[in-house]
Symmetry: C2
Subunit: 311 residues, 2 copies
């Protein structure tokens, strides 16, 4: 059996009340304890005037004065970090929370199902949950609080999730001669994200993560290139519709995934520069809070010749 790694992430975004003070002042020990609850560790960090960005053993954490985004992959237990945060600051200090689970390759290996997570969450904080996408295909679970939250519409996030990358770049990412510097160059991070501070890490035996921040903006890329479970994600709060570089289209052309998803919040990502594809399914959700979620699942338009995996 080939190497397997569950690259797909769980994600937690929380916005807090002003009365709680600056989240960044909670200090590294607090955030260390939080990510520990998710079974992750802090590897390194960068900071600017607006944001602390932590690179984790399982993905990333970004902390601003009034919000944070925590992404964890593998068999992490992000729901425990969510509950830990609620217990630490009190549910009344949370203006908005969103907990998301993306399609997992092997959900049986996860510590819990979304339904089990939801039971824990709803015992601590009120909200709504749904699934978008068919169970036999890419699908995403999402919980969000439903208390009034007027800022929601200004909060833009775009996620591109790429499955089964192929071609030269994929081969390079699976080789044993790769370096972080070389990956950064091949991804053209300097061109795509000028003026961003970068922090990256090459995992052993495979895998690469990078965080980037500029002012209040962030992006994060996580690469799990393992042959049978290849997955690459990028997430950013940059307003991609107005951004000079077609970041997502460029990455699709470089990484040549067999299929990919776009999940975006308050931004419908244009797909005209994407490689030839069929959009298998799409969904637009207007939440009760006033913000909009768009989901689209794309597939390359040529037939893939599969190789059986012997077990």
């Amino acid at each position: 059996m080939t190497l397997f790694f569950e690259g797909s992430e769980k994600k937690l975004e929380i916005h807090v009340c002003q009365t709680l003070g600056d989240l960044r002042q909670l200090g590294r020990n607090f955030w260390h304890a939080l990510v520990k609850k998710a079974n992750a560790d802090i590897i390194s960090s960068i900071a600017n005037d607006e944001c602390d960005a932590y690179l984790l053993s399982e993905s990333s954490l970004f902390v601003w004065h009034d919000r944070f985004v925590l992404l964890t992959c593998g068999n992490s237990t992000l729901v425990d970090a969510f509950i830990f945060f609620i217990d630490s600051v009190g549910a009344s200090q949370i203006r908005f929370a969103c907990y998301q689970r993306k399609s997992e390759f092997v959900s049986q290996l996860q510590a819990s199902s979304f339904a089990e997570d939801l039971k824990l969450i709803k015992a601590s904080i009120a909200g709504k949950a749904f699934r978008v996408g068919h169970l036999d295909s890419h699908h995403h679970y999402l919980f969000h609080t439903d208390a009034p939250f007027e800022d929601a519409v200004n909060d833009t996030t775009s996620e591109l999730l790429m499955y089964h990358i192929s071609g030269d770049m994929a081969q390079y990412l699976r080789s044993d001669r790769q370096t972080a510097t070389q990956i950064r160059e091949l991804l053209s991070l300097r061109a795509l994200f000028p003026s961003f501070i970068l922090d990256d890490h090459l995992f052993s035996p495979l895998g690469y993560s990078v965080n980037g921040i500029r002012g209040r903006y962030y992006f994060t890329i996580h690469i799990s290139p393992q042959e049978q479970s290849a997955y690459v994600s990028i997430e950013t709060n940059l307003p991609l519709g107005e951004y000079p570089q077609p970041i997502f289209a460029d990455l699709l052309k470089l990484l040549m995934p067999r299929s990919w998803d776009i999940m975006s919040f308050n931004e419908k990502h244009p797909d005209e520069y994407f490689p030839a594809h069929l959009c298998l399914s799409t969904c637009s959700i207007a939440t009760s809070l006033g913000y909009n979620i768009h989901f689209s699942h794309y597939q390359q338009s040529c037939t893939e010749v599969l190789i059986p995996e012997f077990i």
Copy 2:
């Protein structure tokens, strides 16, 4: 949450040595005990000179003098029936065995994973196992014995697995005014399968199964129309390449699935009459026994507008 049912089947096909005698003589009690091991029950049966066909609470069982095919859906434990059969007759009496698990909608709800099944099987009988299809999309697990078996190449089977049926027929199958007679007519079973003896059953609240036999030929159709996990399968040992009716194409046009798989043994099913589609992936496997397996995963060529499922 809408009604959920795991329609996707596990399948066991076993061919025995002549020295074991006629499998049909093992009697209904033996087969009753076998299907009980899989957590299923016999509802009814039909027979002709060549074959006994049992309709089960979870799919179907077909018994010929030297072989049987057992299909079970839901949370059935088919691997236990496999082990029970090996223990009952002895591994040396088994000329060929094939154990298959299709993509499951919610694999976490299953009693075991394929990996766990495989551990049990390999402790009782030698063979090879593989997966075809990506983990984040339709995929199939298959174990087969690898002892020499010269008849394998004459054994033809075709399976069509349809996901997320739509249109009038799907609506009818989800209604509370349906009858078995009406479903049989709408499926045009008399025209598609002339001279077959039929045995069918309408399940409560939803679901329909039908077995048909003619001489040594069989077909079986199982319909789980539940909105979020709609799944319809047909399987037959008819030589579809030479058959006058384009059975699979007709059913695709009637049931309008969003996606479908073809799994065939010693027969590559022609897809020229299929509704407009993209073939997402395909795989041909020449087994060490000399028989060939073909897998293809199709998707309708238009974009589906998804509706989120609130949980």
